[in-house]
């Protein structure tokens, strides 16, 4: 904390002044939040966000150009200011990481902003403080530019660019949802996060929705406690024909398994009609009493009722719902009335159309395999290239740190 006999607020400022300023910003932020009744920050949109960004960078440049030798400006690019701003930013992130973020902005606790930190005033102030200290230190190292500062600048300017662009760009970020049904006419209206309607510049039609599933698992269920026993060391068994497995005190054999089956007169048969369900014929022998239980089990579907196999008065064998392995949609995109492009989207492989990235988001969980509804997400983020530029600088900076190690520090001594 520097020299403890030093008078407070006498330049050069150290940790004490820096943390007092950070605390002041925190209190100010919460006061503004309370005064605005927890409505949060209103994000500027194009072109006002760009103007805000240019103004901010311009002010930093101007102050650096005119007063770089002033003790206050020196303080801004000092380590104590840096650490206090990282600490303030981290404190806000800590609240974000602990308090569930689902606040609507009503009531006393919500009004404080801690349930929607990411759009609250104290968070904004912490970011501006962080970007200011980071900005001044970048300018100090960048002007004039020297080769030995490249690594430093890649890391610091990369981070500055990411946060600035993400912060300003959030006003232009659009994340829309659309629920499409097989056979419906093309849709052009999507829902925003706040449920407002939004007209996209093309229309989308769902041609086909597809799910691939893993084979289902079977597990032992305790009817008295209502719990599965899979939490213990006994694994769930992934069903396949011919499988033999020892679970608890039973020897289990799966003599038949149909990936898709229908039921008629209590007998399961392979079937591929809509609503078919996986079914397995199971024989379980109790190793001590030699009691045998056998029969079909199925998780069922919207047309077939679930079927369990009772092993004794307490335990029963249950099939769990099959987990999705892959799901995808074939879409037709109409940019005009006549021509349509056909695209396929899948989880982890979105497709870009006219600046919108189209994602496979979900389906009708209740129908599972037989869902004819596909939920897609449409995202437009015009500031992404700027954020990515920052990300790639930071990436290069990380490689630089790995390569040079603590040589960086020795130079700074």
């Amino acid at each position: 904390m520097g020299n403890s006999k030093r008078e407070l607020w006498k330049f050069p400022w150290g940790y004490a002044e820096s943390f007092i300023i950070a605390t002041g910003l925190l209190i100010t932020g919460f006061l503004i939040e309370a005064a605005t009744k927890g409505r949060g920050v209103i994000k500027p949109q194009w072109p006002y966000n760009l103007l805000t960004g240019l103004l901010f960078a311009g002010i930093l440049l101007l102050i650096h150009g005119l007063f770089r030798k002033h003790a206050l400006v020196r303080w801004f690019s000092s380590i104590p200011a840096c650490i206090s701003s990282i600490s303030l930013f981290s404190l806000m992130a800590l609240m974000l990481g602990i308090v569930p973020q689902n606040g609507s902005g009503q009531g006393i606790i919500d009004g404080s902003g801690i349930m929607h930190i990411s759009r609250s005033w104290p968070f904004l102030l912490s970011q501006v403080y962080f970007l200011t200290t980071l900005g001044f230190v970048i300018l100090r190292r960048a002007l004039p530019l020297k080769v030995k500062n490249i690594g430093f600048l890649l890391n610091h300017f990369g981070l500055w660019l990411i946060i600035t662009a993400a912060l300003l760009g959030s006003g232009d970020l659009k994340r829309l949802r659309m629920a499409l049904k097989e056979g419906d006419n093309p849709h052009q209206v999507a829902l925003e996060e706040d449920m407002r309607l939004y007209l996209i510049p093309f229309s989308v039609k769902l041609v086909d929705f597809n799910i691939e599933e893993y084979n289902p698992k079977i597990s032992i269920y305790n009817k008295e406690t209502g719990e599965y026993l899979s939490g213990s060391k006994d694994p769930d068994i992934t069903v396949r024909k011919g499988l033999k497995s020892d679970v608890l005190k039973w020897n289990i054999t799966i003599s038949e398994f149909y990936r898709f089956s229908g039921i008629s007169g209590g007998i399961y048969e392979p079937s591929s009609v809509r609503g078919s369900a996986p079914a397995a014929l199971i024989c379980a022998v109790n190793r001590t009493t030699h009691d045998t239980a056998s029969g079909w089990i199925t998780y069922g579907s919207h047309t077939i009722p679930p079927q369990n196999l009772d092993l004794d008065s307490i335990y029963s064998l249950v099939m769990k719902p099959p987990e999705a392995k892959k799901f995808s949609s074939i879409l037709e995109i109409y940019k005009n009335e006549i021509n349509a492009d056909t695209i396929k989207i899948e989880v982890n492989s979105p497709v870009t159309v006219k600046g919108w990235k189209i994602y496979q988001a979900g389906y009708n969980d209740k129908m599972g395999k037989w869902s004819d509804i596909s939920i897609i997400e449409l995202v437009r983020d015009p500031w992404l290239p700027l954020v990515y530029s920052g990300i790639f600088m930071l990436l290069a900076g990380a490689v630089y740190i790995f390569w040079t190690g603590r040589k960086i520090r020795n130079e700074e001594l």
């Binding site: 990282i86 569930p100 799901f327 990235k357 983020d381 190690g405 520090r409």
Partner: protein, 266 residues
């Protein structure tokens, strides 16, 4: 190769590792005196790598999904980090620590496998999956070693003579560990953009990963500002590791975790 073979592999590796450590302590004064011990440790590590590879084939997906599986990688990397540091600096205590931690993690994984789920949900089926997790685990292993150095430094400071070389070793580990931490964070962001539509959504896991990152940044900057200071960086480094542990294990117990996309074990 299935999970049933795990105890045999883990036990054999443990025996090889512990024998290696003992050999290193026994033969100290001859030429090539570390070689036999080092070879034993290498054999133990290679065996665990072999298990991971064979288990990967068995699962038909990389064993990186559950906590139990990441612990397996952690054991391997921790042993590897200890070995590399030993080759470079000959720190006996560091390799002892890494090996004991590896054994501890193998033991935890044996008692609480949490690794039976064979299926991989669609969001995890991405080319980013393997680099994202491996880079993180490698970084965690290095940063764990650095935090141990910090604890050793604190012990020396309060009860023995503190030597500045302790902080320099911590620097080495932190700089390399931090660069991998940054890669992990960035890979995660790029992957999230492809899988969930946005590179950053303040998901609790993301938030805690950022906090961990910030923690190590604070350490590095306190070192730069006043390289002569001892206590502040040592405490900063110890604290940063606590944040890392919360990010890795503790997150599931926080109220904010309800909405996380990273809690795959439930």
């Amino acid at each position: 190769m299935t999970w049933i073979d795990y105890p045999i592999f883990a036990a054999t590796s443990t025996i090889l590792w512990i024998s290696g450590i003992l050999l290193i302590y026994i033969y100290t004064k001859r030429t090539f005196s570390y070689l036999p011990g080092f070879l034993f440790i290498t054999a133990g590590t290679v065996l665990m790598i072999l298990f991971v590879i064979l288990y990967w084939f068995e699962l038909d997906r990389p064993p990186l999904r559950t906590l139990g599986e990441t612990r397996l990688w952690y054991s391997v990397f921790l042993a590897a980090v200890g070995m590399i540091a030993f080759l470079r600096w000959k720190y006996k205590w560091l390799i002892t620590y890494s090996i004991l931690m590896s054994v501890l993690f193998l033991l935890i994984t044996y008692l609480k496998p949490e690794s039976y789920n064979k299926s991989l949900m669609p969001a995890l089926q991405s080319p980013w999956f393997i680099p994202h997790v491996i880079v993180y685990i490698f970084s965690y292993a290095l940063l764990a070693a650095s935090s141990l150095v910090a604890l050793k430094g604190l012990y020396e400071y309060y009860f023995r003579n503190f030597n500045m070389s302790t902080l320099k070793l911590a620097d080495n580990l932190v700089y390399i560990g931090f660069s991998f931490l940054t890669l992990g964070l960035i890979f995660g962001a790029l992957w999230a953009k492809e899988a969930w539509g946005h590179y950053w959504t303040w998901d609790p896991k993301e938030t805690w990963a950022l906090l961990t990152w910030m923690g190590y940044i604070i350490y590095m900057h306190t070192r730069t500002y006043q390289p002569g200071r001892i206590l502040a960086p040592l405490w900063a480094l110890s604290l940063a590791f606590v944040v890392l542990l919360i990010c890795w294990f503790g997150l599931n117990y926080l109220p904010s975790a309800q909405s996380s996309v990273h809690t795959y074990t439930r």
